[in-house]
């Protein structure tokens, strides 16, 4: 199936429900690793929105990428609760472990404030991380 057909299929699967834009964007990102310019334009055409409107939404959310990045991603929470539990001290080691191979991104709260520092890889959450645990996590990503 061509890229255009897959995109059309994703749009068709969600179009018609109330507020279809975000579910479509999530599905496109999951399928292609990003929502690029062409995908934005095609989604806009399908939902009868302007290209600018779709771009505004895509660029607003950190989770949506406008170009694909094949590297694995590790999200480290650096919000207040995790900071209070020592997350900031883990950053230098995490950055060193990630290097160029892993994309280490900052998030603000994964909803596990009492058991931080926390990180996320894919759909898996990791709590009570110390330096060794975090470096191992990044190494395995």
């Amino acid at each position: 199936m061509s890229r255009a057909q897959r995109l059309a299929g994703i749009i068709a699967a969600h179009n018609g429900r109330e507020g279809p834009l975000l579910p479509i964007l999530h599905a496109v990102q999951a399928a292609f690793g990003c929502i690029d310019r062409e995908a934005e334009a095609e989604i806009a055409r399908a939902l009868n929105l302007s290209r600018a409107e779709v771009h505004g939404v895509v660029s607003f959310y950190h989770d949506f990428r406008q170009s694909a990045d094949p590297r694995p991603e590790v999200q480290l929470c650096r919000a207040e609760a995790c900071q209070a539990r020592g997350a900031e001290a883990l950053v230098p080691a995490a950055e060193a472990a990630a290097g160029e191979r892993v994309r280490l991104t900052v998030v603000h709260c994964l909803g596990l404030c009492s058991v931080g520092p926390n990180a996320r890889v894919g759909d898996d959450l990791f709590a009570r991380l110390d330096e060794v645990g975090l470096v191992r996590l990044i190494g395995a990503a």
Binding site: N48, L49, S50, R51, A52, E53, H55, S59
Partner: protein, 958 residues
């Protein structure tokens, strides 16, 4: 008026008749219910600081400068988003508020260049004003931190620049594009501190985005982030004059902002009743033609059209012209002379031209370009309703529930009205589009037509009759309305006619190619959807059955009771700024001003007495008949004011032959237009910026045009406005006219025309604008016609008349040699034959006419987008580039007619409306084939036109 900004009350009015009294800073204030605290304070004359609020956009509440304290409410609510309530106590100036505001402003200014002295908005900047208003004295954060300074300026749009460094991300531009214009071309990209205004997507600039350059964002911008390039180049204006746009029939009111005699910018006027503060790319920006180097500012004459032009004095040109006219009249009689009035000129100028022809030349050979556009509207609406005009004002669309757009493309041809319509559609009104082509309104962001009847060109009457069939046979008529207001016998005849099974959608689908179910659904929606309004354009009138189509529309509206109140009606979208006015002023050969027939002796007597001459009781010749008569040799001289008939009229070769056969062609225009190639006398014209007068728009609204600069066609103070030139020509013929100002001409019009009896420049000055009729019965004019009843017949009390409109297929048929149907239209950035807009930067959007062709028709001809193709009809052929698109149906091709190099009218035919001779531009059988170069006509034409434009070098002085 000096140059002060129009008052801005921060948030929109509610229009509520109820009032609320509240206390603001110790003063009791009574305001309309539902307004914001910000607006209430502004109405009371105090100004709450603000940046993101402006009164043509709904409140947004993002800038946090307009915070107030309200007793009984927690915190400091934003005054723009807080509605007033009875007994509310508001404080706008407390120490706490001042400190908050100063803190907010400090943050704004910490990321804003401090180059006020050299900034193009210096002295005209809301950020500057608000910094002063909150008393900002220093910025504790410095300017060294993260910022947006030094980002590159987007100069891609020819008329304005976007400097992100000066942007405060108030979103006014984004909201103006969404709410006012309805294009949604802008967004805020990113979030938080990284938020920036983005036109289109990443990688787009303004020109590459969906932006239509209407200027609403520039007008909304509180800083110099979005700024007109003319303001950058020239500087801040020093005075402003309110005047009326000279492009389309919407009739937008603008402030011409001036510096001395130099126009700095045109800004839409919020109090303009036609445009309500909005504009399009033409009126807002495309006025550079007024000073284009091609403009001719000296009178010119030549003995024969193969000679070069000779620049002469006004006196010499006028006596040359008058001499030829008098000689022709003496030899061939008055009926060998004629004139064409201009829908681009003022009512006063038009009136004078027809007076010159009738009273001076002594003939009724006067016609106007409405002949080729809306003459069927005049005929059709007069026959059915009794008045040759649209029934509504533009505001009416905001109360429509169902809108039919037929043979019109408002987003391109009437963009400011289209924005109103789109606003109403976004509020939930339903749309039916009847057009062979998928125009933007069929589907564009946030707008989608409920039904698109993509009919075969030339089958308008069949589609409307089929809709009427559904309305009558399914019992959807408004019988009370018909019995009370319409002629019952005529209705019954009509109802019987449309009910015939051969007029059912099923029977007619074979010719219209519209599925019967779609026609039935559209008819039911129109008849039962609430307030239903019909808006139509030249796709209705420019057909062999144009008048029938107009009457079929009127029938449908009467049958469903959709006439005589707000939200309904029959509304022609007029092409030219003053086409309504030029028709009103007696420009047709058979009618004196106010649509009174020339054969009516009592009407004629009125004019004869006033003008002191005897008038010919016989109607004169229409434009095509003048050309025919010229070829026969009985018509010898013509005075053409502001119209390029060679390019705009059908069957170019025939027009050229007619002009070439005349002994005296006088062209009165801004440019040596295509028609001037056949002229003997050229009288330089004046632009709408250089004259006083009035234009009448599509809603019958008479608006003042005010002179903002001296005419360029003479030394300072000696240039002549067009009405002065016509008067000078009349006087050269010995008529002895002595008007000193157009207001005197309007007084004469009012004296001689019942519908204009109450109109004068003084009244217009006072009222802003008036919708005719303005007389004893309607002293304040009439926004909505036929509210009490129709106005047919001599007494104006006759009932509405249903007219049987039998579908007669046009003689222009496809066949093996010419298998495709060509239809024509316009594009947003260009206007008519492009005389003006081709001489502006608007050419960046459209620099050539393209032929739209369906992929299947293109494929079996081997045509790809961008290929040069030959477009041939039995009349002629031309070449242009193809664009493959499914906007047109298979079997239909489409092009625009803006460029003389294409000359789309070389291929259009001599067929015309049976009642009014309005040409059938919209249907021509053609063949399209690949081509490798321009046609012989195009090559010859380019050479001929260049030759005809030669101007002899001035002789060296002694």
């Amino acid at each position: 008026m000096g140059y002060e900004r129009q008052p801005d009350f921060g948030t929109p009015a509610t229009g509520s008749p109820d009032t609320v009294t509240l206390r603001i800073d110790g003063r009791d204030v009574t305001v309309p219910a539902g307004v914001s605290v910000m607006r209430a304070a502004a109405l009371a004359g105090s100004a709450i600081p603000r940046l993101c609020a402006t009164d043509n956009l709904s409140a947004f509440g993002s800038c946090r400068l307009c915070l107030v304290e309200v007793e009984g409410m927690k915190g400091t609510p934003a005054s723009c988003t807080t509605p007033v309530a009875e007994g509310m106590v508001v404080r706008t100036r407390t120490q706490r508020l001042e400190k908050l505001r100063r803190g907010v402003m400090e943050l704004y200014i910490s990321d804003h260049p401090l180059d006020c002295l050299t900034c193009s908005a210096n002295g005209d900047c809301e950020l500057q004003d608000q910094a002063a208003a909150v008393g900002l004295r220093d910025v504790r954060y410095g300017h060294a931190g993260e910022n947006h300074l030094g980002l590159s300026v987007d100069r891609s749009n020819p008329y304005f620049a976007f400097d992100p460094a000066k942007c405060v991300v108030c979103s006014r531009c984004v909201r103006a594009c969404d709410e006012v214009q309805g294009t949604f071309a802008l967004t805020i990209a990113g979030r938080g501190f990284a938020s920036t205004v983005s036109a289109g997507q990443a990688g787009d600039d303004f020109l590459g985005s969906e932006c239509v350059s209407c200027g609403a964002c520039v007008q909304a911008c509180p800083t110099a982030a979005l700024q007109e390039k003319t303001v950058e180049d020239i500087g801040k204006p020093e005075r402003a004059v309110v005047t009326t746009c000279a492009y389309c029939g919407v009739g937008c009111t603008f402030r011409a902002e001036m510096r001395g005699q130099q126009l700095v910018r045109m800004v839409p006027w919020k109090d303009g009743k036609a445009n309500r503060g909005h504009s399009c790319v033409k009126g807002r920006f495309a006025w550079g033609y007024a000073n284009h180097r091609d403009r001719i500012t000296s009178p010119m004459i030549r003995e024969a059209v193969d000679r070069p032009w000779r620049e002469v004095s006004w006196d010499e040109a006028l006596s040359f012209a008058a001499g030829r006219l008098k000689a022709i009249k003496a030899r061939y009689g008055a009926r060998a002379l004629g004139g064409i009035t201009s829908s681009r000129c003022t009512n006063e100028e038009t009136f004078l031209v027809q007076k010159l022809v009738r009273a001076g030349f002594g003939t009724n050979n006067v016609d106007t370009c409405a002949r080729v556009c809306h003459s069927p509207t005049g005929y059709g609406l007069k026959t059915t309703f009794g008045a040759s005009a649209g029934t509504q004002d533009f505001d009416s669309v905001m109360q429509a529930d169902v809108i039919i757009v037929m043979g019109a493309n408002p987003t391109d041809a009437h963009p400011v009205f289209a924005s109103r319509m789109k606003r109403r559609l976004r509020q939930g009104a339903r749309l039916i589009v009847i057009d062979p082509r998928r125009i933007d309104l069929v589907r564009s962001p946030h707008i989608e037509a409920a039904h698109h009847l993509a009919l075969q060109p030339g089958t308008n009457v069949a589609v409307l009759t089929a809709m009427a069939h559904v309305v009558v046979t399914e019992g959807l008529t408004d019988e009370d309305f018909i019995r009370e207001r319409c002629e019952w016998d005529a209705y019954q005849d009509w109802a019987g006619f449309v009910s015939d099974a051969r007029h059912s959608p099923e029977a007619l689908a074979a010719v219209t190619r519209v599925p019967a179910e779609t026609v039935r659904a559209a008819a039911r929606l129109y008849a039962t959807g609430g307030n239903s309004a019909i808006y139509y354009g030249l796709g209705v009138t420019e057909h062999s059955q144009g008048s029938s189509t107009v009457m079929a529309i009127a029938n449908l509206a009467m049958a469903t009771g959709n006439i005589g109140r707000a939200g309904v009606g029959v509304n022609p979208l007029r092409g030219q700024n003053n086409v309504q006015g030029s028709c009103d002023m007696g420009s047709f050969p058979h009618e004196l001003s106010g649509y009174r027939h020339i054969s009516d002796a009592s009407v004629r007597a009125l004019f004869e007495q006033d003008w002191g001459v005897a008038l010919d009781p016989e109607p004169g010749l229409r434009i095509p008949n003048m050309l025919d008569a010229a070829i026969d040799g009985s018509f010898r001289a013509i005075y053409i004011q502001g119209e390029d008939i060679l390019q705009s009229d059908p069957d170019t070769a025939h027009v050229a032959a007619g002009l070439a056969a005349m002994d005296c062609v006088i062209v009165h225009d801004l440019f040596l237009n295509e028609t001037a190639a056949y002229a003997h006398v050229f009288l330089p014209g004046s632009t709408f910026l250089e004259k006083d007068g009035t234009f009448t728009n599509a809603e019958r609204r008479i608006q003042l045009v005010r002179k903002v600069m001296e005419p360029a066609n003479g030394p300072d103070g000696q240039g002549l406005a067009d009405w002065q030139v016509t008067q000078a020509l009349a006087n050269a013929m010995g008529l002895g006219w002595n008007y000193t100002h157009p207001c005197e001409i309007m007084d004469e019009i009012a004296r001689l025309t019942p519908a204009f009896a109450g109109v004068s420049h003084a009244r217009l000055e006072e009222a802003g604008s008036l919708q005719w009729p303005v007389n004893d019965a309607c002293p304040a004019g009439l926004p909505i016609m036929h509210a009490e009843g129709f106005v047919r017949g001599p007494d104006g009390k006759g009932k509405g008349r249903f007219v049987v409109t039998d579908y007669v297929p046009t003689d222009e048929k496809t066949g093996p040699r010419y298998p495709l149907l060509l239809t024509t239209g316009r594009i947003l950035s260009q206007y008519n034959v492009g005389t003006q807009t081709r001489r502006t930067a608007n050419v960046v959007w459209h620099d050539e006419d393209l032929l739209e062709i369906h992929p299947s028709d293109a494929e079996n001809r081997g045509i790809r987008t961008g290929d040069r193709v030959r477009l041939a009809s039995r009349k002629g052929e031309t070449t242009l580039r193809a664009e493959i698109t499914d906007r047109v149906a298979p079997g239909v091709v489409y092009t625009t007619f803006h460029h003389p190099g294409t000359q789309a009218n070389v291929v259009t035919t001599e067929f015309s409306d049976w009642a009014t001779n309005c040409p059938e531009y919209k249907v021509t059988a053609v063949q399209v084939t690949l081509s490798n170069g321009p046609t012989q006509w195009q090559e010859d034409y380019a050479g001929r036109a260049a030759g005809a434009r030669r101007i002899a070098a001035a002789e060296p002085g002694e």
